[in-house]
Assembly symmetry: C2
Homo-oligomer: 311 residues x 2
């Protein structure tokens, strides 16, 4: 199949499964292998769609939904618990063609929050729905709803209890996100992000994931970005949009822009985390100022999976 | 009193009370006068703080709280009703000194949502709280809670019923916001925005007002911005942050940046509304692509109130 973009890759998919204190001493070999296998399988989900000429929007939705279903990641099944021991998930999706976007905040019974975000984008005049209202809308659309028990994982429950006891946790316990960005064969960009949020969060805290411009952004003229990290910093620095804006207004490459925003601005402020991104020419970035980031990318003839900062 | 900034104004306050289909044929003389008087009084509230050397953060909070208390505006008392006949308010505040920010979405019993947003900013590690959780936090802080009846205004209820009947309303009925931006004598910027949202909104829709980067942004290096208009467009275009980013990365003035984003980008997409803004040198903007915008500004020796597009 021919590409319209000369030597550039026909399509690109980049994914992340969260950033934080992730290093070799904090992970045994079996756990490491399970993450690498999961990231690799997620890449295949998207590759199957993109290689067949599917859209970047369909690819990022399917990949993020697959990661939501995998209990290893803090999104969908396997989400962390709130202070009250509940599940409250956030998700978002954005289409670079027309800047259409959808997001949900604080949903508790949605099997795949990213799919609900897409319904919000395509079936309502709104961008962002929250809590019970978002779930009412989901019911009206026949979206899969699950009992709370579906989302339970012992590991996250232990982390919840440990956090309540110690009032302190490692950043790796506290947050985590999944996300995907893609360039398809038609030259279009899309991005999606999903999370269970921060362990033991209170008061219906909403993080950066459903905030368009912070946890997600996609614009065919610039790039598609998905964020992961300490959400409050990503909101205040409007990280995903800032990278897009630096490309638009300064003519920076996606690599330069991501590096400036994550490694300089955010790092100077103490905001830990990272982003994945891709531009319309297929240049991609996986930039993080934390010790590690679960991540990977795939394009025709090239596949990569990484966890630590030095690989 | 001396200013540190030579010939620049010692301080500046800019306010808005919503943008939309606001023209001379849609308003009688008494109504027009009541809006002009209210805008003028709001300016005085902020002027008293800023002229005495108070902070821009205190000024924008006090001005927005005053407008929330005034039933003429769609924020606090006088907020529009949701599809179910309820009140759901959003608000945000941001400090240009350190990019600290606070926001609340979908609160129903808070007398002054902007004050709660400031508590979120200063008393929690979070930026955004929603719905019941935000109200629980408010109770824990001793914030004024009101019975639903406090927020009732006949005019908004009639608009709610009319909307349900006709399934159509004028844009002026549908949304409205209040906001303030300020530069203080210390050279610091701040912004705040508050709204009752869109008449007959459903499913806990959250608009641009509590989305940092969309409805509000403040950064001492660039500008302070408060938005009003069709919120979904302001979210998708990250309007407040985009103006800031164009100043940062392209070196544009606040006037050039606001004009580009509101009159070109948003207008081309059909996104109706406007922004107020001020930069650190005291240059201010009140830019809107709608017929009118309730607005005003004050600085030492100069005071202005406007409603229509041609004044």
């Amino acid at each position: 199949m021919e590409t319209k973009r000369g030597l550039d890759p026909e399509y690109v998919l980049v994914i992340h499964g969260g950033a934080g204190v992730i290093n070799r001493s904090s992970m045994d070999a079996d756990t490491e292998k399970s993450y690498r296998d999961a990231l690799d399988a997620a890449l295949t989900v998207g590759d199957n769609i993109l290689s067949a000429g599917g859209t970047s929007l369909d690819a990022v939705e399917a990949v993020v939904a697959w990661m939501e279903d995998n209990p290893l990641f803090n999104a969908g099944k396997g989400s962390v618990f709130t202070y009250e021991g509940k599940i409250e998930m956030d998700a978002s999706i954005m289409n670079g063609i027309d800047l259409s976007a959808g997001a949900v905040g604080g949903v508790s019974h949605i099997k795949n929050p990213v799919k609900l975000a897409r319904f919000v984008m395509e079936k309502t005049p709104h961008v962002m729905l929250a809590g019970k209202g978002a779930e009412e809308f989901a019911k009206s659309q026949g979206i899969s709803m699950m009992d709370s028990s579906y989302f339970f994982t012992q590991r996250r429950w232990d982390s919840h209890l440990k956090g309540l006891e110690e009032q302190k946790q490692t950043p790796a316990d506290k947050h985590g996100t999944v996300g995907a960005v893609a360039l398809d064969k038609h030259g279009n960009l899309a991005a999606a992000t999903s999370t269970g949020g921060m362990t033991n969060k209170r008061w219906n805290r909403i993080g950066d994931t459903p905030v368009i411009g912070a946890g997600v952004y996609a614009n065919n003229n610039t790039c598609a970005i998905s964020s992961t990290g300490h959400g409050e910093y990503f909101i205040r620095w409007a990280v995903a949009h800032d990278i897009s804006a630096m490309m638009e207004y300064k003519g920076s490459t996606i690599t330069e822009a991501a590096s400036h925003v994550i490694m300089e601005k955010l790092a100077a402020a103490g905001g830990e985390g990272g982003v994945i991104g891709v531009d319309r020419k297929g240049e991609l970035t996986m930039t993080f100022n934390s010790e590690g980031m679960y991540r990977g990318f795939i394009m025709p003839g090239k596949r990569y999976v990484g966890i630590y900062g030095d690989e």
